[in-house]
């Protein structure tokens, strides 16, 4: 009875929220329903016949979950998925109850939930997932969580509660994530990249270095891919990267178009084309392959699932506007931003950029992280840059100190003006790369929507 009441109230809240133009109702229904029945998420998720999968990590959560959803559909399952990226308990609950009927029977057979880093313990306790995927642990919104060691501790506690029937899917190349696999009751599946051609001999930034959990010495990297991801070992005590169960033996990067990957999952070799650019998406791919394998998907379902995939909301999105191609890619932390800049610089042609930096709560109110991004890469590679957003002046200053030719840089504080300037810079037939933080991305999409160019995000 209480469940029915809670679901009914939540659904009504979602309907009202959409009717009142307050957005897609991606968290509000869950908030209302949980007020009435705090155990609702546990109750309804327990009724998913094939159990639940939870995905967390700093970067790549949404994209990885999208890939897993696509694989599951190829395996003829019906995932219930918080695909809008609303990833706190309220958002997960909203997704689940929007699929469920009033009796609390979910409209699918497997749960697939992306969850916020700090929400993992709560999510695991309530959902009791059969698989947990952890993508990576980078510095992100440190103003929100304090320090990353704190998050690692939270994750360790959450994974320790998993029973032996469940699987932890962990990035072997990220020392902070790989070490989570030690001492678990759950089965552990590691994934990683094994193509030294895609890496460098040492870390690119000193700040990315990692220290051995066992003895505190600094890890040596045989290969560093990006951020602190790579093949590392401790020169002092010998501890190091666990051998991946799923690995990318060969990665051919094809600029901003995608990559060709030769992967080795447990069931045999797999040659896969992925339509998302950059090595960071190869990691997302490996996480999804590992998860799909753990859930029993066939190699054919794995390959089909990935190759039929379109880009996750806001991650890299292509939009045509008045004869210009617009590529929109979310930026939220130094490692992700550096990967984007490296991916853009694979193609030597000078680029037109629009960088939009906001400092609202959802973006992180501290923009110090801009100083950990290698904007020096844009020297000689930027044909034009427009900076915008609530912290446009900080971005302008960063480019000034990165010694980018300031004659090519302009400041347009408001999104409509910034978009117009960026499109004018790109010119007919040109390409404009828009790199916004989270709320800046919503603002840019709103501007484009008002001009009739993209659907609103909950319609996808």
């Amino acid at each position: 009875m209480r469940t029915t009441l809670a679901i009914g109230a939540g659904k009504a809240a979602g309907f009202l929220s959409r009717r009142l133009g307050r957005g897609g109702g991606t968290t509000f229904p869950g908030e209302v329903a949980l007020r009435i029945d705090p155990r609702l998420l546990a109750r309804v998720s327990a009724r998913l016949g094939e159990g639940c999968v939870v995905v967390t990590g700093t970067n790549g959560k949404t994209t990885t979950a999208r890939m897993i959803a696509s694989i599951l559909r190829q395996a003829r399952l019906r995932p219930v998925h918080n695909r809008s990226g609303a990833n706190l308990i309220q958002g997960v609950t909203s997704a689940l109850l929007s699929s469920a009927n009033l009796r609390g029977v979910p409209g699918g057979d497997i749960g697939l939930f992306e969850v916020d880093e700090a929400t993992l313990p709560q999510a695991v306790a309530q959902i009791r997932p059969r698989a947990v995927v952890v993508t990576n642990l980078f510095r992100d919104q440190l103003d929100r969580y304090g320090e990353i060691d704190y998050l690692a501790g939270l994750w360790q506690g959450a994974l320790a509660t998993l029973p032996s029937s469940s699987t932890a899917i962990l990035n072997a190349d990220d020392p902070a994530v790989a070490r989570l696999g030690e001492g678990l009751r759950a089965r552990v599946l590691y994934y990683g990249v094994d193509d030294p051609r895609r890496g460098s001999a040492g870390l690119q930034q000193a700040a990315d270095s990692q220290h051995c959990l066992a003895c505190g010495a600094r890890y040596d990297y045989r290969v560093a891919y990006y951020g602190h991801l790579g093949d590392y070992h401790c020169p002092n005590c010998g501890a190091g990267r666990p051998r991946p169960h799923i690995s990318a033996r060969s990665v051919e990067l094809d600029g901003t178009a995608g990559s060709q990957v030769e992967a080795v999952p447990p069931a045999g070799a797999l040659s896969i084309r992925i339509n998302l650019p950059g090595l960071y998406n190869v990691y997302n791919l490996l996480a999804a392959l590992a998860c799909g394998s753990a859930l029993g998907a066939t190699p054919e379902a794995l390959r089909q699932g990935i190759e039929t995939l379109s880009a996750a909301f806001g991650r890299i999105e292509r939009i045509d506007i008045e004869g210009r191609q617009v590529l929109l890619a979310l930026v939220k932390n130094p490692v992700g931003f550096n990967q984007l800049l490296h991916t853009l610089s694979l193609d030597p042609a000078p680029k037109h950029l629009l960088i939009v930096i906001n400092d609202n709560l959802a973006d992180g109110t501290d923009v110090s992280w801009l100083w950990d991004v290698d904007f020096e890469l844009l020297q000689g590679r930027a044909q034009s840059v427009v900076v915008s957003g609530t912290r446009a002046e900080d971005m302008l200053l960063r480019l000034h100190y990165a010694q980018v030719d300031m004659g090519r840089v302009s400041l347009e504080k408001e999104p409509p003006g910034a978009l117009a300037r960026g499109l004018a810079n790109a010119g007919p037939g040109g390409t404009l790369y828009i790199l916004p933080t989270y709320t800046a991305m919503l603002a840019m999409r709103q501007v484009m929507h008002e001009q009739g160019y993209v659907g609103q995000f909950w319609e996808d």
Binding site: L142, G146, A206, A207, H211, W369, W371, E393, L397, Y401
Partner: protein, 255 residues
């Protein structure tokens, strides 16, 4: 021949959080724009550098585990020689965790007692709540009234003793301890502060002050430096002050 400025980045991989390396970028660029030859050298755990090589030493903030490693290295390897170098006039900028370790001690939240280098007459104890948010500071270091803008994120509360002056007083934010309004520390040519942001890019007057002190120390007071344009820096400084006031954060009403 150009004058040369050598910057020491102390523990760049252990103590470098929240974009602290932006301070080294700012020092390097503005010194170069003033016509100096600039070299940045790193110094790590276990090394015993000759501090006379350096004109400016920078140390950033770090996480608890890293800070404990650094505290041990300072106590066992570098402390006494570093203290002597500051007595000798070495210009130092220390941010957050680095600032804490240049005091007498840091009594951490886990109960550990980290010894400090005693460059500053200051001690730090862990607080219950983290101080997180934008900061505006009024400072009269160098004789002129100025503002500093930045972002603080720390749980330690730092209390200054009689010998060391504060870098300034908070107009917005918590500062050293959230009680006495003080922010940061100045002792001889050593500067400590909780401000990230990064600090120096948006506060070019302090960048130039550090460079000027370092050049005068090595080449004498006659060594004149040309003024370097700071329009882009001041624009970011003013925009942040406007943003902070627009947000309606707790404001003591001084500005």
């Amino acid at each position: 021949m150009n004058l040369k400025l050598t910057i020491c980045h102390l523990y760049p991989d252990l103590m470098n959080i929240y974009g602290d390396r932006g301070n080294v970028i700012a020092l390097s660029r503005r010194a170069a724009w003033a016509g100096l030859d600039v070299e940045v050298l790193r110094v790590d755990l276990g090394e015993r550098p000759d501090w006379r090589t350096f004109d400016i030493l920078f140390i950033g903030g770090g996480q608890d585990k890293q800070q404990a490693l650094v505290a041990r290295d300072l106590a066992e390897v570098k402390g006494p020689s570093l203290r002597a170098a500051v007595d000798d006039g070495l210009v130092v900028l220390a941010i957050c965790g680095g600032y804490q370790l240049l005091g007498r001690y840091f009594h951490t939240g886990s109960g550990a007692m980290l010894p400090g280098v005693e460059v500053f007459d200051a001690c730090t104890v862990a607080g219950n709540r983290r101080c997180i948010g934008d900061v505006i500071v009024r400072s009269e270091v160098g004789g002129q009234p100025h503002t500093l803008v930045g972002f603080e994120n720390h749980s330690g509360r730092t209390y200054l003793g009689a010998r060391t002056r504060p870098l300034g007083h908070v107009i917005v934010g918590r500062g050293n301890n959230g009680e006495d309004g003080s922010e940061g520390a100045v002792d001889r040519n050593a500067f400590g502060t909780y401000l990230h942001g990064s600090l120096l890019p948006k506060n070019p007057w302090l960048t130039d002050l550090l460079i000027r002190r370092a050049v005068e120390r090595r080449y004498g007071p006659a060594a004149a430096l040309p003024a370097v344009d700071d329009a882009v820096e001041r624009q970011a400084h003013e925009a942040l002050i406007a943003r902070i006031r627009g947000r309606g954060l707790v404001d003591s009403g001084v500005i």
